[in-house]
Each structure stands twice: as structure tokens, then as C-alpha cells.
């Protein structure tokens, strides 16, 4: 954490652009303090994997970034807009942040393609024709162009999650948040979703991923954060966090999951 604070500079630090700045973030649910004080800067093209025991606040942290949870204290700055400020137009902020959920949350009354086209068309970013074309391209990217006119209930879990990723890419976001994207999947379907995410990381997307897939974290993450009891306990490269953890809590956790 101390090494992070040394790095705090203006939005452009060297050749890397600052995408997300979190300062003293606090989140309470009534009397329960879930996030106590989170400070982190996330730069362009970073793939940040967040690990930690359940109840440590990983998902809450992610949901604070796009304002799905109202923030109790501190600031979250994205594209120069403060998410914690009630006057900020959250819809504008969210256009630039895609989010993928554990339970997919596809719209079951729309076809796969309609799911993807909804936001760009409703927000008048694209005409129906453009959105259709862009949607088909996105489906191709996740290997599901043949499923364009199918309704979500007819897809497997892995396919649903790939559609959900395509849908959240439809607004051309700069940042993608993944909230345990493979936790609800049958084991044989985890790979296809991770493959799409790996491809996205290679294409240079800035990503924050809450996951229990340590293998994915080792291989794809540029940075791993260990969150425990509302604080960032450890923050470093996958090698540093997994092979040379400094904190006892990190060591205990890794002993349990590895």
C-alpha cells in the first residue's frame, strides 16, 4: 500500500493513464463496516485481480466503482468524475465501465443480439443498423455469432457469460469490472469464459476482476490485490503476492486456497 501512495501523481503518469483513483473509500451497510479505508490507483491496461476471503468486501468494492452501491465516505474518481458525488451523472460514468456479474443477468425476454443492442440504441449512440452490426461483431469475438437470435434461457452457463461480456462491451467501455464471473459456472465451462477474458486483457482492456481462479490471476493479472476485513492487505505483481506474500493474513489465505 505504501508503494502505491508514492506513485500518486497527476492523471498521466509517465506513459500510463490513470483510470481509477480510489481515496479513503468507506462503505457501511447500516452498522456493518464492509470497506474501511481503501486507497488504490488503477492505470490504463492494468489487469487487477482482487482476491480475498468471502465477506472481505471484494464485490462491494467493485460495485462502489460504478456506483451500484452508494459510497459512505472517501472518493472514487473515474474519467475525472467523482462517483461518490451525488451530483455526478452516473449514467455517463457507467457508459465507460462495463460490468459482468456472477449470475450473468442477461435479459431473458430479449434475444442475445437484442441484449447487446439495447444500451447503444436506447442511449442513441448507434442506429439500429449500426448496433446490429457491432453486436454481431462482438458475438463473433466471443465465439457466439450463431446464437444471435436465441433467447438466453436456451444457452449454457458459459455461453450466457460470454454474451454478458459482449453486452457490456457494446458501449465501448474503457474499463471492465468482473464480479466472480466464473463462480456460478459448471467446471467445464470456466475455461471458455476465462479465455474470452484473457483475450480482452491481451487487447489492452483495463480490468478489475474479483475471482477465485488463482490460475487465471497468476497468468493474466498484472497486479493482484488481497483484500481482507475492509482493507487492502497486499498489493503487487502476481509473483510478489503469490510467491512472496509479506503479510501473515495473506499467507494464511493462500495456504487455504492454493
Amino acid at each position: 500500500m505504501s508503494q502505491m501512495q508514492d506513485e500518486i501523481k497527476e492523471p498521466v503518469s509517465g506513459d500510463r493513464k490513470l483510470m481509477i483513483r480510489v481515496n479513503g473509500l468507506k462503505k457501511n451497510f447500516k452498522d456493518l463496516e464492509v470497506l474501511k479505508k481503501i486507497d488504490i490507483d488503477i492505470y490504463e491496461k492494468e489487469v487487477v485481480v482482487i482476491i480475498g476471503p468471502s465477506g472481505s468486501g471484494k464485490s462491494t468494492f467493485l460495485r462502489c466503482l460504478n456506483g451500484l452501491e452508494t459510497i459512505t465516505g472517501g472518493t472514487v474518481t473515474i474519467d475525472g468524475m467523482n462517483v461518490a458525488d451525488p451530483h455526478t451523472n452516473m449514467n455517463k460514468v457507467r457508459e465507460n465501465i462495463g460490468m459482468v456479474f456472477q449470475h450473468f443477468n442477461l435479459f431473458p425476454h430479449m434475444t442475445v443480439l437484442q441484449n447487446i443492442m439495447l444500451a447503444p440504441v436506447e442511449l442513441k449512440k448507434m442506429s439500429k443498423e449500426e448496433a446490429r452490426e457491432a453486436g454481431l461483431k462482438l458475438l463473433k469475438r466471443v465465439g457466439l455469432e450463431s446464437k444471435a437470435d436465441v433467447y438466453p434461457p436456451q444457452l449454457s452457463g458459459g455461453q450466457k457469460q460470454r454474451v454478458a461480456i459482449a453486452r457490456s462491451l457494446a458501449m465501448n467501455p474503457d474499463i471492465m469490472l468482473f464480479d466472480e464471473p466464473t463462480s456460478a459456472l459448471d467446471p467445464e465451462m470456466v475455461g471458455e469464459v476465462l479465455q474470452v477474458m484473457r483475450q480482452l486483457a491481451e487487447d489492452g482492456m483495463t480490468m478489475c476482476v474479483v475471482t477465485h481462479e488463482i490460475g487465471f490471476a497468476r497468468e493474466v493479472a498484472s497486479r493482484v490485490i488481497f483484500l481482507d476485513a475492509g482493507y487492502i492487505v497486499e498489493d503487487g505483481t502476481p509473483d510478489a503476492v503469490f510467491n512472496h506474500p509479506k503479510e501473515k493474513r495473506t499467507i494464511d489465505f493462500l495456504n487455504k486456497v492454493l
Binding site: 460504478n66 439495447l118 436456451q154
Partner: protein
Amino acid sequence: MGSIIQVYWTLLLKSLGQTLLLTLFSLLFAFFIGLLFGLMNVSRNKVLNFLGTVYVDGIRGVPLIVLAYFVYFGIPALVQATGNTGFKLSALVAGIISLSMNAGAYMAEIFRAGIQSVDRGQMEAARSLGLPYGISMRRVVLPQAIRTMIPAIISQFIISLKDTSILSVIGFPELTKAGNIIVGNTFAALQVWGIIAIMYMVVIVTLSRLAKKLERRLNVSNAG
């Protein structure tokens, strides 16, 4: 019985038509009243919540017959007191207003339950795409909510259809009122009320069958 039907069949059918017309119009208005107050009741805005609760509890706390008297006699009295002495509400208008308000309160509850039955993740997914609350509600949540609400809406239609009989008290020429008239002419209470009861029953049983069928269809397509 045959002779009563022979003499009065036009009156009976015409008043059944009035009953259905009144129900249909009232339910149509009730749908939008219910949508409005249902949305208020699920909103995070405390003031809207409060107003929605006041409406739903207020209307549900008043018997329909009292509401009908209030609208039919009370409101014209109020308007007349303000100077417009010739003001009068027709029984049809007063009937539609009171039945719509009454059914609207129940529809608000049906909407609230329907909206709340849609997984919270649907709204979150829509919002996280940058869609505003209103569009998310209209395009994502409501279409799914209304599907689950269809059986409850038909059941409310049946309740309101039966409630139209109460509006005979303000002189609205619906089926029960026709029964009163025919009994007054013929003194054949047993036969007349038997015929009226059967007429209500046929319409309502048909509607419930339809509701069951729709429900099954919806369950099948949801299971996919």
C-alpha cells in the same frame, strides 16, 4: 323461466354488455393508476413512497359502495357548492371513476409485487450499461414483471366484474340493476336471480379458464 328470458333477453344481454363495458374501461384506467402508484411504491423516493401508500391504503380502506356514493353524490355536491350549480356526474362516469380508483389500488399492489418479483440483478445490469432508471424499468423490468402479473390481472378483472353489481346502487344499468327491474315487473325472484347468477358465472368461469391457460403457457415459456 323461459318466458322471462323470452321477454327480457334484450335487456339482460344489453345490461351484461354494460357490465362488461364498465369492467373493461375501469380495468384499463386501473392498469395505469396501478402502474403509476406501483412505481411510486417501489421507488426509493420517500415522498413518492408515502403518496403511493396513502393512495393504496386509503382506497383499500373504503368499501366500494361508499366510494361510489362519494363519487356520485359527494363530488357533484362539492362542485355545485363552488358555484357550478348544474354539475352532475352520469352513473356511467361515476361508476367508471369509482371502480377504476378501487381496482387501481389493488393493481398498484399487483404491480409492486410484479416488479419486486423480477431479480434485482436485472435492474443492476441495465443500470451498469449506463441506462437511466426509467428506461431500465420500461425496457427491462416491466416487460418481465407484466408477464408474471397476467394471472393476477385477470383475477382482478374477475373481482372488478363482480364489483360492478355494487354500482347498481347509483342506478347504473348493469346486470344486477336489470335483475332488480325485472323482479319488480314479474315478482319471479327465484327465476330472475337464478338467470342473473348463471350469466355472471358463465362469463367468470370462461375468464378463469382463460387465466389458467395463459398461466400454463407462461410457465412453459419461462421454463425454457
